[in-house]
């Protein structure tokens, strides 16, 4: 109904709906353009609520001609829990905190959203092979969604990735290619390969469509909050694609009358070992200086972030900020979230939770604010980050040994 084409974000040049991602005039990124015309908000809400229990309920706001694409597979992501986190809020001295747990997707990260959209588009454009450059989560998702759709796949990752992410990719029967180098090396290689291989690289030549999938995370937040915008969001930044698309989606539904409230304040979260966007924000620049990543948050280890300038712009314009946290703070963040919400996140979620704690500590968040924290991945994928971080007891199978070896519970009640 609404898909119009692609447009350069820098110079405004228009392009048709096909496999392309940058402007031939100025190299700027291409973005999907829609015409929603005179949309009736009440009718649109009814249609969404009558839709599928996943991202395709938002198909009218995704880059397809009419409703859910016929080429979608049965592996549908989305409608992940938005959990009110009162114990986390209490621990940090905040008013109202919600955790959007996007680990609850088919391959346990938010990447299922972008990949479901990109793979459906790849099939619509008649590709029979999909590929990606990945820090891990995207690899899992591309391999799985290609399998579900019956397409061949090539997944390129840094060779030193966490074992869990490699195993959880290989199992789907993909061509798993470990590249000796950083993610940015992998990305450059895939950019070059995309010129000669007739493949749909989801985050290269299909990137404009892929990025649109992230918007569903914002739509769900709005719907789950009763068609209201949150006051503030805290979101991890790697390439900046998720961060900026949340901004776009919130604005879209606000302008269309589907969401009430004001545009949220945007807080970005990066690991200190790879924080080119936080650094540009701190130094008042919009161009990010590339870095060589050295962090346990490998899913955020992109030293040359494609959407960096737009992420800085969004944080600044919304009155937010972009902060970075150390590896130790990331580990503490994983534990803090687990201990107060029962949600076990990977290192990227540790980054996000640690930045929330940092903002709370410096008094950046008002007591009456409704804050949504985006947890984008699953703790079981980065087990090394929590190794040796807790107490455990080994005893003989006797009551006496139990009483000798294991302490009584601390008198904590509901607190601590």
């Amino acid at each position: 109904m609404a898909l119009e084409g692609l447009r350069c974000k820098e110079c405004g040049a228009d392009y048709p709906v096909d496999a392309r991602y940058f402007c031939e005039q100025c190299f700027g990124p291409l973005e999907v353009v829609y015409d929603f015309g005179a949309l009736d908000p009440a009718e649109a809400r009814r249609k969404i609520q009558a839709g599928s229990a996943g991202i395709w309920r938002y198909a009218d706001f995704l880059p397809f001609a009419a409703g859910p694409p016929a080429e979608r597979s049965a592996l549908e992501p989305g409608l992940t829990p938005l959990v009110r986190a009162d114990r986390l809020a209490e621990r940090l001295g905040l008013g109202e905190v919600w955790v959007k747990n996007d680990a609850a997707n088919p391959t346990h990260s938010f990447k299922d959203r972008v990949v479901a959209v990109a793979v459906a588009k790849a099939r619509e454009l008649d590709f029979d092979t999909v590929a990606c450059a990945s820090t891990g989560n995207l690899a899992n998702a591309v391999a799985a969604h290609a399998a579900a759709a019956g397409l061949a796949s090539y997944v390129f990752v840094p060779a030193d990735l966490e074992e869990q992410k490699l195993l959880a990719t290989g199992v789907y029967g993909t061509h798993l290619v470990g590249v000796r180098g950083s993610y940015d090396d992998v990305n450059r290689l895939c950019t070059e390969l995309s010129e000669t291989r007739p493949w749909a690289f989801v985050n290269v030549n299909l990137r404009p469509y892929y990025a649109e999938g992230s918007k569903t995370l914002a739509y769900e937040t709005i719907e789950q909050l009763g068609w209201e915008l949150p006051d503030r969001v805290v979101c991890p930044i790697a390439s900046g694609s998720l961060f900026t698309r949340l901004g776009r989606a919130f604005r879209e539904w606000l302008d269309l009358g589907l969401a009430g409230g004001e545009p949220p304040v945007f807080n970005g979260a990066q690991p200190a070992g790879c924080d080119p966007v936080a650094e540009a924000f701190a130094e008042g620049r919009d161009v990010c200086k590339p870095q060589r990543p050295d962090t346990i948050a490998k899913s955020l280890a992109i030293g040359d972030p494609a959407d960096g300038p737009y992420a800085v712009e969004l944080a600044r314009a919304s009155g937010g900020a972009i902060d970075s946290v150390s590896d130790a703070e990331i580990r503490d963040g994983i534990r803090l979230l687990a201990e107060t919400t029962g949600i076990f996140t990977e290192t990227a979620g540790g980054v996000t939770t640690a930045v929330l704690a940092k903002l709370a500590e410096r008094g950046a968040i008002g007591a009456d604010e409704r804050v949504v924290v985006y947890i984008t991945g699953e703790g079981l994928k980065t087990l090394d980050a929590v190794r040796d971080g807790h107490s455990a007891y080994e005893i003989d199978a006797t009551v006496a040994d139990f009483e000798r070896g294991v302490p009584e519970p601390a008198a904590t009640g509901a607190g601590a």
Partner: protein, 90 residues
Amino acid sequence: MITVKIPAQLRVATDGEGEISVEGGTVGEALDAVFAEHETLRERITEDGTLRRFVNVYVSGEDIRFKDGLDTALDDGDEVTILPAVAGGG
């Protein structure tokens, strides 16, 4: 001799050529030599004498921003690759 590799989408500006051989002691000089042959390429890749912000240039696989930018020295036989910077994301 330096080989400059042109991305497929820009070859309309190079009469279809994907690799252009030029002389040049630095990346800037090599690119200027390419622009001398294919003038319309200049405005697509540069703006006010500097690279556009969504253009990445590599010398033998290494991003020139980790070196001396356009002043990065070239040795005979080096390969300079121009690529769009807007790919990627976890």
